[in-house]
């Protein structure tokens, strides 16, 4: 059975598969869940809460998601390019829609290193 991230409020319920989530961005006590295709869902959870929910509700797929600094959780599968000097992280979803994020340079360095360690150093 496919795992889902389920976010419930008293009046609404959101349900996403890991593949649908491109990235999540923080906005104070709320978070935007950006899904493949360009939809943006505002949910009443802090980013740290969503991080915990991903780990708890999607144990098999949680490692696809990387928390980057205080503001982003990104789906590693959609990472298209990392540019440390330009301070730019580009995600590309299933519909070829681009998302440009600007985490800190140090975080981008760490992310690049993590991907190199995971997939083997590219010469």
């Amino acid at each position: 059975m496919e795992e889902h991230l389920i976010c419930m409020t008293t009046t609404e319920l959101f349900r996403f598969t890991s593949g649908q989530i491109v990235y999540i961005s923080a906005e104070g006590n709320y978070s935007h869940i950006h899904t493949s295709g360009g939809e943006d869902f505002l949910v009443g959870f802090q980013l740290g809460q969503l991080e915990q929910m991903i780990a708890g509700q999607m144990p098999d797929n949680a490692r696809r998601f990387i928390r980057i600094g205080r503001n982003y959780i990104v789906n590693e599968h959609y990472i298209c390019s990392i540019s440390v000097p330009r301070q730019r992280l580009v995600l590309l979803d299933r519909t070829d829609k681009k998302y440009a994020l600007t985490p800190s340079r140090e975080a981008l360095k760490a992310l690049k290193q993590h991907l190199e360690d995971t997939y083997g150093k590219i010469q």
Binding site: T11, G48, M53, G56, A62, R63, F65, H114
Partner: protein, 298 residues
């Protein structure tokens, strides 16, 4: 849960891996994956044990009743979704909760065991008898003078008679009545019985949207009646009048009128723990015609 959020902007963390954030030492002790958080579970168990001991200590001297059934464990989602911050009906306080409807974040304030009252002039944010306060009637310049907009009765004295807004709020002997009517007997009753009366825009009547169609967006505040109880509901983002009324209807609000909105309008609340929720120009000097709907401790 808050500690899980702690991550510097320069760090990354693979979720569910138990790895330390890049650039730090040690494993991630705060992962939500149960096998990866023995320390957190130990603390949780210790906290539950302490709470149980405290509960027993409180109950034993009063009676010899059998120990109450243990409460069901609270699901992680429940804790995060239901942000109700107070439950004891013994005291006066405000229940505060957050929700998102139609992608519009809302903050909901429910005064408990408190008496509504209309107050004119500047009130002190340090007044501990008040558990919830929100600016009530609009005011504006009429020539060179600042005056209340719409009919206004204060302690039985008519200060304004305009009917420019159809929503009304009447306070009589500690009871509050809201609705939509061009003329209402509550106005006369407030005059004869030393009550208070003000007008505002009507938003919802009998569960239907009656808000005037205005396109400009702002932060809205509503005085709402749900199942016989009054709530103050704030939109956390700038939206239109109609969008606000729509989310109130989705919340099963039966009747609602607006209260003074915008980011400057003062509203504060105090929950059971004493935590305050403030917004607007709390410390600013407001005109003498400024009015507040307040709920005081009984």
């Amino acid at each position: 849960m808050a500690k899980y959020n702690e991550l510097n902007d320069d760090e990354i963390r693979v979720i569910g891996s138990g790895e330390a954030p890049a650039g730090t030492e040690g494993a991630d002790k705060s992962s939500a994956n149960p096998p990866a958080q023995p320390r957190k579970r130990w603390w949780l168990a210790a906290l539950l044990l302490l709470a149980a001991v405290a509960l027993c200590f409180m109950l034993l001297p009063r009676s010899e009743q059998p120990a109450p059934e243990p409460e069901e464990p609270i699901a992680v989602n429940r804790v995060m979704v239901d942000t109700l911050r107070s439950v004891d009906p013994q005291n006066s306080y405000t229940e505060v909760s957050d929700t998102v409807i139609n992608r519009i974040p809302l903050q909901i304030f429910k005064p408990v065991e408190a008496v509504p009252e209309l107050v004119m002039g500047n009130i002190s944010p340090n007044d501990t008898t008040i558990v919830l306060a929100a600016m009530a009637a609009d005011y504006g310049y009429e020539g060179k003078n600042i005056e209340v907009v719409g009919a206004f009765v204060y302690r039985g004295e008519i200060l304004s008679k305009s009917k420019s807004k159809q929503g009304y709020c009447a306070l009589l002997n500690g009871n509050m009545f809201i609705g939509k009517a061009l003329t209402t007997p509550y106005f006369e009753q407030c005059v004869t019985e030393n009550g208070d009366f003000f007008r505002q825009f009507a938003l919802v009547e009998d569960g239907q949207i009656v808000a005037p169609d205005r396109k400009q967006r702002s932060v809205h505040r509503g005085l709402c009646l749900i199942d016989g109880h009054y709530y103050v509901i704030d939109s956390q983002t700038a939206i239109t009048n109609e969008q606000f009324a729509e989310v109130l209807v989705a919340l099963h609000v039966e009747t609602a009128i607006s209260l003074m909105g915008s980011a400057h309008a003062v509203r504060w609340a105090c929950d059971k723990t004493g935590r305050r929720y403030e917004t607007g120009d709390i410390d600013a000097k407001h005109p003498d015609v400024a009015s507040y709907l307040v709920w005081r401790r009984k």
